[in-house]
């Protein structure tokens, strides 16, 4: 699975993209976040206030209970500030 990060989240993680192998039991975004939180504490600050994080699955706005699989591209980013 490809995970992408943008804006201050990217800077905090130290990279814009990473590839992870998703265990079978990770079937939605919420479970992925729990998994990352246990993997490394650098993820904790990002997912501390989940309501401030936006999610895209395969480049479409999604939510914490959206289903995911190992072939998906997930992105985590802060609320947008373009325009």
């Amino acid at each position: 699975m490809i995970i992408k990060y943008f804006s201050w989240i990217k800077e905090h993680i130290g990279k814009s993209e990473e590839q992870i192998d998703l265990p079978n039991y990770i079937t939605n975004v919420n479970l992925l976040i729990n998994y990352l939180n246990e993997l490394d504490e650098k993820y904790n600050i990002i997912f501390e206030k989940k309501e401030l994080i936006k999610i895209a699955v395969n480049k479409t706005y999604s939510s914490f209970d959206t289903n995911i699989s190992n072939s998906d591209e997930i992105a985590f980013f802060p609320p947008v500030t373009g325009g």
């Binding site: 943008f6 201050w8 706005y61 992105a75 980013f77 500030t81 373009g82 325009g83």
Partner: protein
């Protein structure tokens, strides 16, 4: 860049744009009214009381274009448009640079005003762009402004 039909144009680019050229493209059969919005980089961040020397815009390639395309297709039907162009610049910009262009053409003027206004409100709240303001060695990711969320709500049917 993607050009979905002769009358829909979406570009994410580093380069500046020419408003006259873009307006010509919006000029379709049956067009009576064209409304253009041009966003300009301001040299001062009021929220943080901070002068801005430059800013860097990043976006989510692929998602940006796809989401803009969806919103344009919805607007096309709702306001009976004859053309829509969205250009958003990325990379490093300086105060007074043009940053975004939304141009809309329609048979009737109120539809053109409403569609352009809606697409801008939508871009501000949903299009995956992020601004990093720079002032010498201070760098500051711009925070989302909740009044933009309120602005988008006025278009809910």
């Amino acid at each position: 860049m993607s050009k979905i039909s002769p009358a829909i144009k979406i570009k994410i680019q580093n380069e500046d744009f020419d408003i006259s050229e873009e307006t010509k493209i919006l000029h379709q059969n049956n067009t009576g009214a064209i409304v253009n919005f041009v966003g300009v980089v301001r040299g001062y961040d009021e929220k943080n009381d901070q002068i801005i020397n430059s800013m860097v815009l990043e976006h989510y390639p692929g998602m940006t274009e796809a989401e803009i395309e969806k919103i344009i297709i919805g607007s096309y039907k709702r306001w009976e448009l004859t053309g829509v162009t969205v250009i958003h610049r990325i990379g490093k910009l300086k105060p007074s640079d043009q940053i975004v262009f939304v141009g809309v053409s329609s048979k009737h003027r109120q539809n053109a005003f409403d569609a352009c206004n809606f697409i801008m409100d939508w871009l501000k709240t949903k299009a995956p762009f992020w601004k990093l303001e720079e002032n010498n060695n201070i760098k500051n990711w711009v925070e989302f402004n909740d009044t933009d969320n309120q602005a988008l709500k006025k278009w809910e049917k």
